[in-house]
Symmetry: C2
Subunit: 603 residues, 2 copies
């Protein structure tokens, strides 16, 4: 392809709103243009790379037996009402009413149509397992789209959904997907961090996220300095350092030497920091107590052994007191998962005052009634602590877990942070920001149940299939490739997703140089090598700058001087290398084909 | 690919709402399923064929230098407001408001984003001509979607837009497109009828539609029995048979022997039919006069020679009396084009009574004042006609054009119908129903003007580029292939768009038969032949029925009996042929590869 015959509007300037390198380079290299906020058009060069990422994904999905289909992008709202997500999905779901008043959704994800399709066609266990995928347009109504296609409104996504008769079958496919994802990202030249992740609003248990490190990442990852433990902060655990998990009996025994708890007057002291200053002690002595409001709690809460287990039916809203060691924070994702709640959030000031019968800042577990107490494991080893006394300007000291209060549930609820210890090996954890490129989940029966999918087993008995779902953001993967492969001059494409393999730069496209360039391009193209030939009437400097900017792996410079010698030569340079080398003109095609085929075979 | 490992849910029964053969067969052969009204999911087999149609289109677009890009499907409403189509497009345009109150459109066509993209990047005449296309999801909010993907709401469309400095350049590309379209449809195995079409709401002049014959076609085509004239009824012309176009002077001369016009009492006679019966004569004697309401007329209407040319400014609505010979109908598309009106429709009864000062049924041009009269050419040669007399139960007879009334404009306004004469050769015209698969237009300056696209010429002077646009419905093309290639047993795919080239049917997939089938499949696949291997444990009859239904071009049956002989054989049959032939097993791969490569090379 000749540069003059395609459309590569490179820019010297950086678009004002492009704060990350992939966004800047996608615009500058003429891969992408903006149509609206979070809406983009891929130009010819960008589309070629996008399609290559798509094709890598497609090949790896096909290789593990997932079957490509293409549902519509606009999906009847009815299907989303069946699954319940029409209501639960939040406003990122773009809902449409058409001229006849019918409801539609612009798909942000596609559990519903896939489940509906399979429901209508599934009769027998012999049809399972079944894994289907699409690579298709999606839309999420981001309030603040930014970073180019890294967080756009419309995007391309590969999403797969699998259906199984049993957990083993789901496990197998889930593992195949995990392997396929690793291959896909490796082939794209990406270093991904697979992390255990909370599956959040998607429901279900068992999930893995594929992250790339990014300063503007949405996710905080915790990684071990010693072993390969990695987790999203939403679900990260850690080794409990100086606070062993104690049972009630052990806790009571430990507390035997603690003086009885007593009131202390703490005027104008509300926060942990103020209390530390007032009592001249560290935060680890305190039992921080937070009142949480939880929506649609599905956990059974009738443990007769726990004194606070009020025999109440939880309606849509329930309140909980959550105790944690004063230096730590509650991880609300862990709390929601523990309670099997749709959502948890701190209670309002009015609710706190009503439930603790005290102003904000004086909550504590001792003597608290009416709401269940949930304690982080760290609280179980506090045998001489300080806590709010459920009255203005009053705290208790010498409070002991097990003796002075108990919890309905004890659990790991802390937000792990850098410096905490790895739950596997005890090594120190550190933090990274990450962007999610892919995510695989075990969905379980959530959709087969809500959308009533059944099959008959060998004995004619009806069952629900268990499901998995598996997504990859295609645009985001492409942008991440650029984030990882660039320098100050532009993109450095991995050959697997480069828009072209070779860029040919004739110093001046005329005479013998033109002839040599055309001939070499033809030879390469005949062997399937993708060549971009810069035939423009521009100064060599301009062409070199553009070649570096758009980052085609191999650059071949053809000039009079090198052609003129006894053994005519051309100059070959890999984009990632500083130095070029001279290759005899008559061998150039063979040398390039060999190097490119080798590069391709490694990706 | 083994049948057991893919997903081809064939059906014996015909879906109740599937009234056309492609809809029936796409469901029965497991190519497609329904997600909602006018919304479908392509299953693996259907998607393979859809992608092949896409790829054929892509290759032919690339071959004429059009460049593929990918704008978003959801497009900012702002762009549609700029072009004016936010208001003018009607309710088939799905408009969305997102959670922030911003307006969006789900693209039904994409003049706006393409024009906006080019506007932002176009500086110099040296960048032109530029032709860009996409193959992407579109949506049209059909009130009554039906016939499967033939008239769905969501669909795939190839749409190209070109930008030129002058008409010659646009002409060249328009011709290239016309040739490319012919190739595309030919490669898909389709017989298309290219017809001159009115460009309707798209604006601009010069357009060609690519139609396939279809009982449920939206379009009526007129074709000549002798030459290759073809036209959409909306724009069809015909040779004026016994009614030459007369000038005023000639008409007056012809009328010299006609008695003066006189009133006749016609009680209870309103329609042409009633009048014919009452006067015992044929409809060709009558001058039918219809009152039309036209919106946004842009034609200058100040011909001083015409007595009815009232010097009025036409606001948004104007009325016209249109006269035509009694046996003919007015073609409203021609009328709108003549008046350069956004829309024309028959005036309401109240308007007719107000403007003709008579009840409905007694309009006529004689003595009519206040509104312009437009006459079809056929009226100019009526020198002794009958017409309404602008009063209840009264007509005039002996009316002569030129003598008793004149028209502001005379024009070709008739609706051509079967039996009329070809405007080119005078042969008889006949009608066909057709479905539009593609359409190429010269848009002219409509969008470059409204969206302010400019470039600088050699002298630094600013100009608007002239534009063309070129669409193909991808799903509709696929469905039309099935409409044209099927029999009572199922689809008969042309090899170019068949989901697989070969279906292998082992009589029983075990032992030597399994071995032979696997070996042949592997040999074929190694050479790039796409093989579907029916490994199911089903009776041969079931497998044969499914093979015929899904219509893979070559069927290879492998059975014990044919393998057992001295020279082991397999049975090869083309889907379109009745008889199979025996091929030596050892030659089977070579024979099939040769035949398939030959078939492919012809398409």
């Amino acid at each position: 392809m000749k540069v003059s015959q395609t459309f590569i509007p490179t820019l010297r300037e950086v678009p004002a709103d492009a704060v990350i390198v992939s966004h800047r380079l996608m615009f500058r290299a003429g891969l992408l243009r903006r149509l609206g906020n979070g809406l983009f058009a891929y130009l010819p060069l960008g589309l070629r790379s996008l399609r290559k990422v798509e094709q890598i994904i497609r090949e790896e999905m096909n290789a593990i037996g997932s079957l490509e289909i293409k549902p519509s992008v606009i999906v009847p709202g009815e299907l989303w009402k069946e699954s319940g997500r029409w209501d639960s999905m939040g406003e990122a779901l773009l809902r449409i009413k058409n001229r006849l008043g019918a409801d539609f959704v612009v798909s942000p994800t596609a559990e519903e149509p896939f489940t509906a399709l399979v429901r209508d066609e599934l009769f027998s266990y012999r049809q399972l397992p079944l894994s289907l995928y699409q690579i298709n347009t999606k839309y999420r109504d981001e309030i603040r789209p930014r970073y180019g296609v890294m967080r756009g409104r419309e995007f391309m996504m590969k999403d797969a959904y699998s259906f199984h008769t049993n957990d083993e079958s789901l496990d197998d496919h889930y593992k195949d997907m995990g392997k396929a994802y690793r291959k896909i990202f490796k082939r794209c030249g990406l270093s991904v961090i697979p992390v255990k992740a909370d599956s959040g609003a998607m429901g279900g248990s068992g999930s893995e996220e594929f992250m790339v490190e990014s300063d503007i990442g949405d996710n905080t990852l915790l990684l071990c300095k010693i072993c390969d433990y990695s987790a999203n902060v939403e679900k990260a655990e850690c080794k409990v350092d100086f606070s062993p998990r104690l049972s009630i009996d052990v806790a009571k025994a430990v507390a035997s030497s603690t003086p009885p708890f007593e009131k202390i007057i703490t005027p104008e002291v509300k926060t942990i920091e103020e209390l530390c200053a007032f009592l001249k002690t560290g935060a680890k002595t305190f039992i921080k107590t937070l009142i949480y409001k939880a929506v649609n709690v599905e956990l059974e809460l009738t443990d007769p052994a726990a004194p606070n287990a009020a025999p109440k039916t939880f309606d849509s809203v329930a309140f909980f007191a959550v105790c944690i060691r004063g230096d730590l924070d509650v991880n609300e994702v862990k709390l929601a998962a523990l309670l099997k709640a749709a959502d948890v959030s701190l209670a309002s000031e009015a609710d706190v005052e009503r439930l603790t019968k005290a102003p904000l800042g004086f909550a504590g577990p001792v003597g608290l009634s009416g709401i269940p107490v949930i304690a982080d494991f760290t609280v179980t080893s506090i045998s001489d602590g300080v806590t709010g006394a459920l009255a203005k300007d009053l705290h208790y000291k010498h409070v002991a877990y097990g003796r002075d209060f108990q919890a309905l549930i004890t659990a790991d609820l802390r937000t792990v942070k850098a410096g905490d210890l790895c739950p596997l090996c005890g090594g120190e954890l550190y933090e990274k920001k990450g962007n999610e490129l892919g995510h695989i989940f075990k969905l379980g029966y959530k959709y087969s149940k809500s959308m009533n999918v059944t099959y008959l087993d060998e004995n004619g008995k009806s069952h629900l299939p268990t499901m998995g779902c598996y997504g990859i953001g295609v645009d985001r993967t492409l942008a991440s490739v650029i984030e990882e492969h660039n320098d100050e001059d532009g993109i450095i494409w991995p050959i697997s997703v480069a828009p072209y393999h070779v860029i040919m730069v004739p110093i001046k496209y005329e005479g013998a140089v033109k002839e040599a360039a055309d001939k070499l391009a033809a030879e390469l193209e005949q062997k399937g090598i993708e060549v971009l030939l810069d035939d423009r009437d521009e100064r060599p400097g301009v062409k070199f700058k553009d070649a570096d900017l758009i980052g085609i792996p191999y650059r071949v410079v053809i000039g009079d001087k090198n052609l003129a010698g006894e053994t005519p030569k051309v100059e070959v340079k890999h984009r990632a290398e500083k130095e070029s080398s001279l290759v005899e003109q008559k061998n150039a095609a063979v040398v390039l084909i060999e190097r490119i085929r080798k590069d391709l075979s490694l990706s």
